[in-house]
Symmetry: C2
């Protein structure tokens, strides 16, 4: 061992001991004949002292150390004259008597500090240096603790962690698969799993009863800010359960994690909210409930007063921003620009301030009497000093989603989205299907294995779009951290589901025959849930993106810029795989 202790553990009680430390040079300070070196490792920082009067050559050597050099020292622990109460080791320092350079370092391309001078691209290219920073390392430590706690909890509840294969079959339903050519089966491909959904259902058929897995999943999607082509799921499934059983098991797990990892005791049951309610009052199936600011529908109040935008609208809705009447014209214009951005797509925004005397001044005063505006105020439950913001449109759902974005932005501007406050809820009663304009057919909102609500099963024949599912999402602070459903365990019902989704019986058999056949041999009722580990960790870590809780993430083009992957293959490799590259002209660059 190159050390007798780490750089984080020496204390005043150790004074007088001979120790051996190893680590990285964080900083070298020369003060007169003294040289101070901060030595760093994962566990902390320890101050080393060299004194020219004790050993001139050794001190000279210390003066030549550079940032990030790796050194080993021996010396005696001494009490500091000026203690540093901000450092756990701040009471002591090491009077060094020998110094060995284990490895020199070139000057790193950015500083290894919490606030680094490295830009995103540089940090990713030198990710192994970026990970030396406390700010990043502690996210990985949190991730480790989180997976330990998840396993401890689920093990204590009788769940078995069972590894499912990574090389599976491709199932074009859902997102795009990553595929893997098989050399031994020429012309054929494996797929990497988008999730172990069907495999965990087979494990239920096999009587495993309670399964979980913390597992890599893969989706070949065009990447958005907070997506990675590979991501990690806490994947769970249980037999002989109803929705209530799954929810209570995993609400218990969530509370356990909050307590162990954040010290937050959540004693109340999580709120349950139907999907329809969430869409109506928050315009989202993952409402951020750290603040209220619920939607109020204003069709009755504002329609029919000659303001054609509202008069022609299918939906008019408002939110009340408490205490924001002081917003300037400039701020309001910026908000209008915000909702008009193509990503949001609103046509405009109407606002109304409630003055100190109770009168309402709006951006559409010429169309509305003070009387109507007072009705508006009453509907919005607005008080003097409040600001009312209103959107309208000819598509109710789209307008609600726009209003949702506005609500979230106002919450942000008003400081209502505190990262240290957590609002958890279950969104339930999701629709079974949603209409896809692109595909011209109904698509499964969760996936084709979701069980419809028993009472809605007759609607499958008459009005499938109205069928609700035994599906549930857990939402924390506006983030969907997990979701699941009770599954179909009956092969006839599963076949009907595929039919509604536009599969021919042959196609269904070809793609999901293994599952429907399995259901013929005694499949138990079952259901489950999958949590997104990356999202959970970033939520607990207070990160804006999942990237910094992943050791080696990919960029928005799916590249690992450190490894420079993906890359071209040798011709020999392509030959062995029976493949030829055939890049379409449009793709060439």
């Amino acid at each position: 061992m190159y050390r007798s202790e780490t750089c984080g553990e020496l204390r005043i009680a150790d004074v007088g001991r001979e120790v051996k430390l190893a680590g990285w040079v964080q900083r070298v300070r020369k003060m007169g004949g003294m040289t101070f070196v901060d030595l760093r490792d994962r566990y902390g920082l320890t101050q080393l002292v060299f004194n020219v009067e004790n050993d001139a050559a050794l001190t000279e050597a210390a003066n030549h150390l550079g940032r990030e050099w790796v050194v080993q020292v021996t010396g005696k622990v001494a009490e500091r004259t000026s203690k540093n109460p901000n450092m756990p080791t701040g009471d002591i320092e090491i009077i060094v008597d020998s110094l060995r350079v284990l490895n020199a370092s070139e000057v790193p391309p950015f500083t290894i500090e919490d606030d680094t001078d490295g830009g995103d691209d540089l940090r990713m290219r030198f990710r192994y240096l970026d990970l030396r920073r406390n700010a990043v390392r502690k996210n990985l430590e949190l991730r480790h603790r989180m997976t330990m706690e998840v396993r401890r909890y689920l093990d204590s509840k009788g769940f078995l962690e069972i590894e499912t294969p990574m090389l599976v079959g491709s199932t074009p339903e859902g997102a795009r698969d990553f595929v893997v050519p098989s050399r031994m089966n020429p012309g054929q491909f494996y797929a990497l799993p988008q999730s172990p959904q069907t495999l965990k259902q087979l494990l239920m058929v096999s009587g495993m009863d309670r399964y979980f897995q913390i597992v890599k999943c893969f989706r070949d999607e065009d990447l958005r800010a907070d997506r990675q082509p590979e991501f990690t799921q806490i994947d769970c499934e249980m037999s002989f359960v109803e929705q209530e059983d799954v929810i209570s098991t995993f609400e218990g797990m969530a509370k356990h994690l909050f307590k162990e990892l954040r010290g937050v005791e959540l004693t109340e049951p999580f709120l349950r909210m139907s999907w329809a309610y969430a869409m109506k009052y928050y315009g989202s199936d993952k409402p951020d409930l750290r603040f209220d600011m619920r939607f109020v529908e204003l069709m009755d109040v504002l329609k029919g007063h000659g303001f054609s935008v509202f008069d022609n609208a299918q939906y008019i809705g408002g939110i009340c921003a408490k205490g924001a009447a002081g917003y300037t014209r400039k701020q309001l214009d910026a908000l209008t620009e915000y909702v008009k951005r193509p990503q949001i797509g609103a046509k405009g925004m109407v606002y109304a301030r409630v003055e100190a005397d109770g009168t309402v001044k709006s951006s559409v005063d010429k169309f509305y009497s003070q009387e109507t505006l007072q009705e508006l105020r009453k509907a919005m439950n607005a008080e003097p000093g409040d600001l009312i913001l209103i959107l309208s449109g000819d598509d109710t759902m789209k307008t609600r989603k726009q209003l949702c974005e506005l609500r979230l932005e106002m919450g942000r501007q008003l400081g209502l989205r505190d990262k240290n406050k957590f609002a958890c809820l279950w969104v339930v009663d999701f629709p079974m299907f949603e209409w896809s304009e692109e595909e011209g057919r109904l698509m499964a909102m969760h996936h084709p294995f979701t069980h419809p609500k028993d009472e809605d099963i007759p609607l499958l024949d008459t009005d499938p779009a109205a069928v609700r599912a035994d599906a549930y999402d857990m939402v924390v602070n506006g983030v969907e951290v997990g979701g699941g459903s009770i599954r179909i365990h009956d092969s006839a019902l599963q076949a009907k589901m595929f039919e509604i989704l536009g599969f021919t019986p042959e196609k269904a058999q070809e793609q999901f025959g293994f599952l429907m056949n399995a259901f013929k041999y005694g499949a138990p009722p079952h259901g489950g849930l999958a949590y997104g580990l990356d999202r959970w960790v970033s939520l607990f870590a207070g990160l804006d993106s999942i990237r910094d809780c992943i050791a080696f993430p990919k960029n928005n083009s799916g590249r690992d810029v450190m490894l420079d992957a993906p890359a071209a293959l040798d011709d020999k490799q392509l030959d062995e795989l029976n493949l030829k590259i055939d890049i379409r002209e449009s793709e060439k660059h």
Copy 2:
């Protein structure tokens, strides 16, 4: 919840309670007016009783239940009149008052019993039914407990589990990679990791200090009996350590696992054996030390007596099989055939029995005097009743490997390879390189990142083939369960290693530049080890193959016969990936 308890937990103390159970019908027995049903789940079996006198319709329904139907019952726990001491629930039965069929089952294609009538192929196609068998399920339970214990142990030692990416770059050094075409980067491919070797080294450069991961690895090799294209590794790495530190940490872990999972207390330090010693005395770098039967070199004794086979041999070696002098001519012929099989490749075998009176009778008596044979006996330390088996050849290493196979076979025949006995050792001081006839160059015996022994570093320039490495394998019962090494952390030494391995500086930079560059920024001394999880579990479970400790294994052609993967892709998918299939004529079938 469909049940109030599982099928494994009711005891005599529960008599009189009203319970609700759910599970699979294992067996239905009709005895007069009584019908007995064994209800099964993961946790056990419970006997259900139906009595025509109590409820004729209910009993009639029970009579119609088939094997593997899924049912739910309610009833009262009663004490059995004839108890079954072989079942944990054998003191009680359930007097059923309601029965609900949750799912019927077709007759399964094989019996769900420990000794099933299902052949291998059928079991794999219906793996979800095969997994219902106790014999298979308990392997997965053991695997779960093993990974829990590994994590608990390593967490307690300060290791962080850090996920490394699955989509990495291809590195043709080593085995063949599985690759993944990138749609977003046309013509380029990711590779699936053969192991996270370089990534874990980068984590050491990043100061993570102690890393582990239980992780899927991938090798596109032609499959042998005990290989899978995807397998699971317990991958570990530590900083600021020497070989001794790594060995003691992971020997501690092995002992912990033996104790927790098998109840075996291993108190002595594991034996250490140099690679050279292991090859000389056991003909293997993974000797099975459950029995001795060490090789004795017999050149001095048997050469120069006119037996041309031995006279021309480069190596003559024997083993002494205690008490096996009674082997018949037929048995000895079968052994000769065994070592002459092409997989082993010996030319022949010589034997010698030590008779009760001490005389030695051999298959080559006409060439050797009794005096020489007595010398042989002495050299072999053989006693009356022992059998001496001798192989020779013109290639020392090859002949030793043949003798190793003979030794293992004799150990098996003599019952010396007890699955409940465990002989653990470390093989150390591996050669750094081995000569590849195929490539016509030196290859790294472990991998190119292995640190040479400090005292052998000068030999890198003069006699690289003689250089030994700081590498170590843990061997249990003749199985290499893990291995590792101290790594190079100096970019100049790493560059020299690539040079010896025949890399041009450009090629080394292209493939491993990311690692050599990382070493320039303060890489700490580090080393580690990887255990093969599948092998460990099968060792603990007493399995002959790793297959039955894997939920959904692949067959020898790399196929998942249950999922029917791999399979052809849609043209649309190939198009998006800019690929064309180009099967060489020779591959078509």
